[in-house]
Amino acid sequence: MRRLGRLVAVAFGALAVTGCATMNVSSHVRSGIDFAQYRTYGWGPADALPTGDPRLDKNLFFQDHMLGAVEKQLAARGFEMAAIGTPDLLIHYHASIDRRIDTNRADQAHGYCYEADCQQPEVVNYEAGTLVLDFVDARTNRVIWRGWAQDSLEGVLENQDRMARQINEAVARMLKQLPPRL
């Protein structure tokens, strides 16, 4: 029985991992905040931190696409871009790239490995991209929510269409984690 449970867990884990590529999405939220109080938003001052990659630093194509994706998702969730006056929320984003290492991924993702993989443990170097979105309460100036998405960027940055798709998926999945507004 326990074995079966484990097998099911592994199968589900494998499904979850392969089903949505390897993108890792999660968030932190301030407790005791009623998200229904926020209706309008505006973009906070642009991020001065380096992205860690010259291809991405001050990349207006990336930036435009990122802003567009967030605005589209927020509109679908009933938020409005503040036309005049102070918005309820200020939104910041930060994109960064790190070189990371991993061992045979198949192994960790599925909990098993094929003969050939198992005998030749392989350490892989890859570029990991992280997108962070911060929602700041404009009145209190405190971050009330932070969401992020991390994924391997192999072959993504070099391909504008893939980059656009990756941003769309990351933003959509991050904002799905926003607490519900009743």
Binding site: H28, T103, N104, C118, P121, W148
Partner: protein
């Protein structure tokens, strides 16, 4: 079927696995300035926030992490008779959190005590450092730190909070008693 040397090897592995798993959780250490008497200090205040990067974009400028850590430290210090003050404090507190990727050469080893296919394992190691500085002399009086696998902890807020509380409690347990 098994030669004696194989058994010995297995036994050594098993023992070292027990030893390793025991301290595999959180690794806590501290330094104390020679001759320092913590009984002299009654009040503290937080120093300016750390400008160094944590090495992880999820944690950089993350108020949920910072506030939880500060609250945990304040709670622990209160139970030890230290008082937070906005006036001139006896101690100034600093902390630094960082995350780095580590490679473990034989992970199966650590987990099960043996391995059929020993393979390298990559994980995120997190370190939290807490410094107590004499507000008068600006000299470091005490430093304590905790090192742990931070696997998946940032992605799960509750788990992260539990891990912070646990690490801070165990770091500050190492403060010398104040008589």
């Amino acid at each position: 079927m098994y030669s004696p040397s194989r058994w010995v090897r297995f036994a050594v592995l098993a023992v070292s696995a027990v030893a390793l798993t025991r301290c595999a959780s959180t690794d806590i250490h501290s330094y104390l300035e020679r001759g320092a008497d913590l009984g002299r200090y009654h009040t503290y205040a937080w120093g300016p926030a750390d400008a160094m990067s944590t090495g992880d974009p999820r944690l950089d400028g993350n108020p949920f992490f910072a506030e939880r850590l500060q609250a945990a430290v304040e709670k622990q210090l209160a139970t030890r008779g230290f008082e937070k003050t906005s006036a001139t404090p006896g101690l100034v507190l600093h902390y630094h959190a960082s995350i780095a990727q580590r490679v473990d050469a034989y992970s199966a080893d650590l987990k099960y005590g043996y391995c059929n296919e020993c393979r390298p394992y990559v994980y995120d190691a997190g370190t939290i450092v807490i410094d107590l500085v004499d507000a008068h002399s600006s000299k470091l009086v005490w430093r304590g730190w905790a090192e742990d696998r931070f696997e998946g902890a940032i992605d799960n807020q509750q788990l992260m909070e539990k891990q912070i509380d646990n690490a801070v409690a165990r770091i500050l347990q190492r403060l010398p008693p104040r008589l």
